[in-house]
Symmetry: C2
Subunit: 424 residues, 2 copies
């Protein structure tokens, strides 16, 4: 007997037929004698519909002004998960499984006051545990909690992953299963490199880098939380037949286990290759090279909610002026240029240039810590294919390289091969 | 300065355009200096959609068995009002009106544990009153509250009227305005009798009879509650131009005031004529005429949730057997016949007959208490038109007459005329 948290996303609960399939996954674990909490997202498309209503309602007549009260946004948008949790509880009951729905405010899942993008502060797992002992499955609305102002707070897009991991930590679950539309974590995107292989295990640190670098399997914060609380997390497919052989294998279900490094016996130097398209490069020419200039540039961008990624500062020619180059996502270019233009007098620069259509390719592997030459291998391999490197950033366990976007697939396949990820 | 509760139903908030119209009604009262709470239903069609999902989810595979957990029903269906209250708060904010949404569990509106058809037990008005004093409009999700089990409870269909009146009582509002798709209470249905006139005032008791007898303007329980707490309630149209002359007239807005009897100066003997189609008559032939036989018949019917209306017991021929005739709504006939057949041995009767397609016509007026001959006038008028009376029930302020349904419109017009309701 174990305690399991299972999480299902929007496409897995898109209609009652699919919710019934989800219920069969749940019933399989219940029948195996496990205690189960299920965390669900809103039905696919529902959140977008609700958000569009929020935007329409908030628009002052005759203007394009559209800033909304995040507390009302939360009350409206959280209704999507409320519906799904109730429906799954009903379907489970119709299959003879004892189940009930829980809203964030009922458990409660306490958050901070940052409506619209709240962080979970505390979860009282005692009610859920009491019900487990009575043999009841808890069906929990993901993506939401109760803020200190006694109003609903949502956790931001993809927040249901975070709900699931946080609940797993609160009830001391043996495992958190994230059911999604892919069947695990791959060495790279199989649509780009058909030789990509599913990893049976990946460390929390590597998964955190992968999630941060564009792999859309899991929300970044859910991985952080899993790492902090050491929640063993499986990524697996919700579209598999719930009763296929091996699906209920407790120790080794089909999918990828995200776990602590020391649980991974045969650690590779490089675990995977990630990529993010639609990067843009902005260059400020002949910026005054004096203390505080970086803060003058990146402070206002951060305040405007623009995420600046790679930063390259050239050595100045004459010691007084320098070029400053950085990347943002393409969608933020216009906003970034406006912010920079506004601060031009304060910052002091000659010209601003921008290029869109860049890609960032990242090589991730915890083994890099103890292996030299990983970066050099990447540079050589890309040079052989004639791919120009525009910028580089590195961390202890990853190397990110900015290149022209048209070489994305070639670069991914080249690196996947050079680190031996093609082989079984 | 007064305190007003305004209630808007599903057709009035069917989309953002209509919600904007509702907001203009609210803004008019706010601009006049009043303190305002607004109670809203779900967007038209939304509740039906959610209910159909509940039914689909509750159906066990391969069966027609469909009984659902009312607590889950409540969590799912109440999400409709949650969305509307948030959207109206946002639209009000976009017009510069200080507003926030309130869910039933936040106020809280405490109900009993009868999920799916709960009754309001207690409302703490203190939070709302505090916000009034800060100049904030309260936008309250109708139709719902918090049950003792800390879960959402809904009040049954049309429950938002009841929410509005209960909140008006809790915050000691000067008035409760029920905005609906008709512009007041009429002497009878204007689709049947074009000479029907809008009443400027009607007593609580009369409105209660009208609501119970098929007039769909207000939910019965909301009228009961208004009567008990003496909440002056206006029925008025949500489709009027919010800024038309007279709309903000505090003492005399366009519509019908439901109030205490002594506020109505020129009381008519008869106030209105109501009708209910689709009545069915069931007769049990040669029932044993002994004590307890009525309980043996009507007890099981009540347990099956069948509402029995008019009951006629013929005088038995020989003192041992009698005929028992009663009416139910046509939709309940099959269920009623099944219940009776099941209890046949216990009850003891020779045969059961049923006729559908009956109508019940009711004459309502508080003045009947002090005027004799009101019933005789109705019987004579109907007899003159050749309309046969199948059954009669009376109360202190109403007479109900069962007739063949094909005479419904003729009977309504005849009675409307004979009591002088056609005249201004």
């Amino acid at each position: 007997m174990a305690r399991i948290v299972m999480k299902f996303g929007g496409t897995s609960v898109a209609d009652i037929g699919r919710i019934r399939n989800v219920a069969r996954h749940v019933k399989r674990e219940v029948d195996a004698g496990h205690e189960v909490a299920v965390v669900v997202s809103a039905m696919a498309g529902k959140t977008n519909e609700l958000v569009s209503w929020v935007q329409e309602a908030s628009k002052a007549e005759g203007t394009n002004f559209n800033i909304y009260d995040a507390r009302e946004y939360d009350a409206i948008v959280a209704s999507g998960e409320q519906v799904t949790s109730g429906l799954l509880a009903l379907v489970l009951q119709s299959m003879g499984v004892n189940a009930r729905s829980w809203q964030g405010w009922q458990i409660p899942i306490r958050t901070d006051n940052a409506h619209g993008a709240a962080r979970i502060a505390e979860i009282d797992g005692s009610f859920l545990i009491k019900r487990f002992e009575e043999g009841q499955v808890a069906v929990v609305s993901g993506f939401q909690g109760l803020a200190p102002d006694n109003r609903i707070a949502t956790l931001g897009r993809g927040g249901s992953d975070t709900s699931a991991v946080a609940i797993a930590a609160a009830v001391k679950a043996d495992r958190c299963d994230i059911y999604t539309d892919v069947d695990g974590v791959y060495t790279t995107d199989p649509r780009v490199e058909p030789k990509a292989r599913r990893l049976s295990k990946i460390s929390f640190e590597e998964m955190l880098e992968l999630a941060s670098l564009g792999a859309k399997v899991l929300q970044v914060r859910s991985v952080e939380l899993a790492m902090v609380h050491k929640v063993r997390t499986f990524v697996r497919s919700s579209f598999d037949d719930p009763d296929a052989p091996g699906m209920g294998d407790f120790d080794n279900p089909p999918g990828t286990l995200i776990c602590e490094e020391d649980e991974i016996v045969e650690q590779q130097v490089v675990t995977g290759i990630a990529y993010a398209k639609d990067e843009a490069q902005i260059s400020l020419r002949r910026v005054a090279d004096r203390p505080g200039v970086a803060a003058g540039i990146f402070g206002p961008l951060a305040e405007a909610g623009i995420n600046v990624d790679m930063i390259v500062q050239n050595i100045s020619e004459d010691g007084s002026r320098t070029d400053m180059t950085f990347t943002v996502s393409s969608g933020d270019v216009d906003k970034a240029l406006a912010v920079l233009e506004k601060g031009r007098a304060t910052i002091g620069f000659d010209a601003v240039q921008h290029d869109e259509g860049m890609s960032k390719i990242s090589v991730i592997g915890i083994g890099m810590r103890s292996h030299a030459g990983v970066a050099a291998t990447a540079f050589n391999a890309l040079a052989e294919k004639g791919i120009n490197i525009l910028a580089i950033t590195t961390s202890e366990i990853k190397i990110s390289i900015l290149i022209d976007g048209s070489y994305t697939e070639l670069a991914v396949r080249t690196l996947h091969s050079v680190y031996g990820l093609d082989k079984q």
